[in-house]
């Protein structure tokens, strides 16, 4: 019974509750309680302390800004205006709220607002789809493109777009960097001749890549129906992020254990078999480490690139909110910040799982 509960807890990803469960059921209570405190309570406590400091800091900044406003009203319009301003701020009226670092509470409210907004937009979308479903069916018969919803995207739609861009950029990096890395890794001459180029291009800033890609894509793609900003942003993301994979792949391929190479020589494997049966599996650990770095770099540069490329997604969401300057804009930016962080963390976890699944462990 007890083992079964523990097993199902682990399966559901609630393994961190295991020591607490053991404590309650009386199995080495002292030891398990200490494990529980170390593994679960301390991380939680660190989050609470972070939020507390954030709250205190935000309050201090709020007061400073409020004082400045009151002082400004006093010097410009006299004592009465200052009192009116102080009352206005105290009443919580939107028109005179100090615009500064939002408090955790405001951020939570902004999060709720974004969620509500998403539900509304989703509802509108459904209504729209229903309305045009008949027309679309007819248009399809005539061979015309269906009418699509062109309203404002919600926050969740923006996340989806960003994920799509990152996925496209990652795949581009994968299909460019891994083959090139293998070819470069196989030949010392190629490795030496490309090394300086790679070393120079690797530290180039994402912004410059974006401009470079923009120059090329603008000329190459003349079809106005194509989503140019998406193409530009995913190619830039791929270009920025592929270097880690390229370098790691060529390193992995170049440094395959000599024992494995001896085996392939003694067996007289053909070049193809040598690459696919020995060299690639042997360099998988390094290749996947590179791909993991690529994913996190891609997600990191994505925001900056979307911001500049005017391509829809989290980056442009942040930029629009910053330009917008509404009372809850700052809070929405912080919400986006946490969403970006959490998604980045999840992407890294997914890559780690794939890496563990695909690579061998030397005993």
């Amino acid at each position: 019974m007890k083992d079964k509960t523990i097993k199902s807890m682990r399966f559901m990803g609630l393994g961190f509750l295991e020591p607490l469960f053991k404590t309650i059921s009386g199995e080495e209570p002292k030891k398990n309680l200490s494990i529980f405190i170390k593994k679960s309570l301390f991380p939680l406590a660190s989050i609470f302390i972070f939020i507390l400091f954030w709250h205190l800091g935000a309050t201090a900044l709020f007061n400073k800004e409020a004082d400045a406003r009151i002082e400004k009203a006093r010097t410009e319009q006299g004592e009465e205006a200052a009192i009116a301003m102080a009352e206005c701020i105290a009443s919580g009226d939107i028109s005179c709220q100090p615009n500064t670092l939002p408090s955790p509470k405001q951020v939570y409210q902004a999060y709720l607002a974004l969620w509500k907004d998403h539900l509304q937009i989703a509802e509108k979308k459904d209504e729209f789809e229903e309305k045009v479903s008949k027309t679309n069916a007819e248009r399809q018969k005539q061979g015309l493109a269906p009418i699509t919803y062109t309203g404002r995207p919600s926050f969740l739609d923006q996340i989806g777009t960003s994920l799509k861009t990152v996925a496209a950029g990652f795949l581009l990096a994968l299909f460019v960097a891994v083959p090139i890395g293998i070819i470069i890794g196989l030949s010392e001459v190629l490795r030496n001749s490309f090394n300086w180029l790679i070393q120079i291009l690797k530290p180039v800033s994402p912004v410059v890549w974006l401009l470079l890609v923009f120059m090329i894509v603008k000329t190459v793609i003349t079809d106005p129906n194509m989503d140019k900003s998406f193409i530009i942003s995913f190619i830039s993301v791929g270009l920025c992020a592929m270097w880690a994979t390229l370098v790691n792949t060529s390193m992995g391929v170049a440094n395959v254990d000599k024992d494995y190479m001896n085996v392939s020589k003694v067996l007289k494997l053909s070049i193809g078999k040598q690459i696919f049966k020995i060299i690639l599996p042997a360099s998988f650990p390094l290749i996947f480490t590179g791909l993991r770095i690529t994913v996190s770099v891609a997600w990191m540069v994505l925001i900056a690139i979307e911001l500049l490329a005017q391509s829809p997604g989290l980056g442009s969401f942040v930029w629009e909110e910053f330009q917008n300057g509404a009372s809850d804009s700052n809070a929405k930016i912080i919400v986006a910040m946490f969403v970006i962080g959490i998604i980045g963390f999840l992407l890294d976890r997914i890559m780690l799982t794939v890496q563990n699944f695909m690579t061998f462990n030397k005993a």
Partner: protein
Amino acid sequence: MPILELKNIYKSYGTGTSKVAVLDDINLAVKEGEFVAIVGFSGSGKTTLINMINGLESPDTGEVLLQGKPVTGPGPDRGVIFQNYSLLPWLTVFKNIKLAVDEAFPQLSNSKKENHIRKYIEMVNLSHAAHKLPKELSGGMRQRVAVARALAMNPEILLMDEPLSALDALTRGTLQEEIIKIWSQDKKTAILITNDVDEGIIMADRIIPLTPGPMATLGPEFRIDFERPRDVTAINKDPHYKRLRNDILEYLIEVGATRQQCSDQKYILPDLQPIMPGRVSIGRKIKNQKVKYF
């Protein structure tokens, strides 16, 4: 005609002043079905010698003849058992052997290949572990896989480069017997490189010492004429065995000693002061250790 012949082999590493002649004037002829052991100190160039036979390295001068033809590179006609097993860690036991069988017998059908592989896995008593990865096996089991892989290619010659040196004495003993048992079934030509004189005496027909490097060369051969199948415990008590063992060891020690006299290299030893036990204590004992969170 000998199946394998080494003629006047000379091999060196490095260039210019750092050039080191590893092997010099190596001559050897091995008859078909013979089991030859080459015994030498570590660092004397044993692995270089076997790498020249299997084709991973080539001699500077002289030639290696296999059935009268010069060796130009590695090939599946020479099965190699490496010192550190060299199994591919991402393949199971079965697939590790299959990789070799695919190369040696590309014309066989899949079911025949599978039977062939199973036969050799059974021969080394690993049927229960056929679908395990190398990391799940013990050192002795891994070496058995390497033996099965080399034998499954059905090579003309079996080359063993200190195959058992990484194993403990007991496992080594059983594996020696197993290898001999498998070898006696089809009497392949076998060359064993080892640093253990006893191992050579128990397994081989001939023992040839390799003098310590640089410029290592083969010494006079010692014939081992114990009847096969050999009984290890009986051999151990045999006065002839003791004499043979002493002769080989004496020879090896003698050439080792003359080598050392020849070298005029002086070793500078570090000037270390011994630490008196009990005077220095490293770390403190902590009494009543409490639960520490940080």
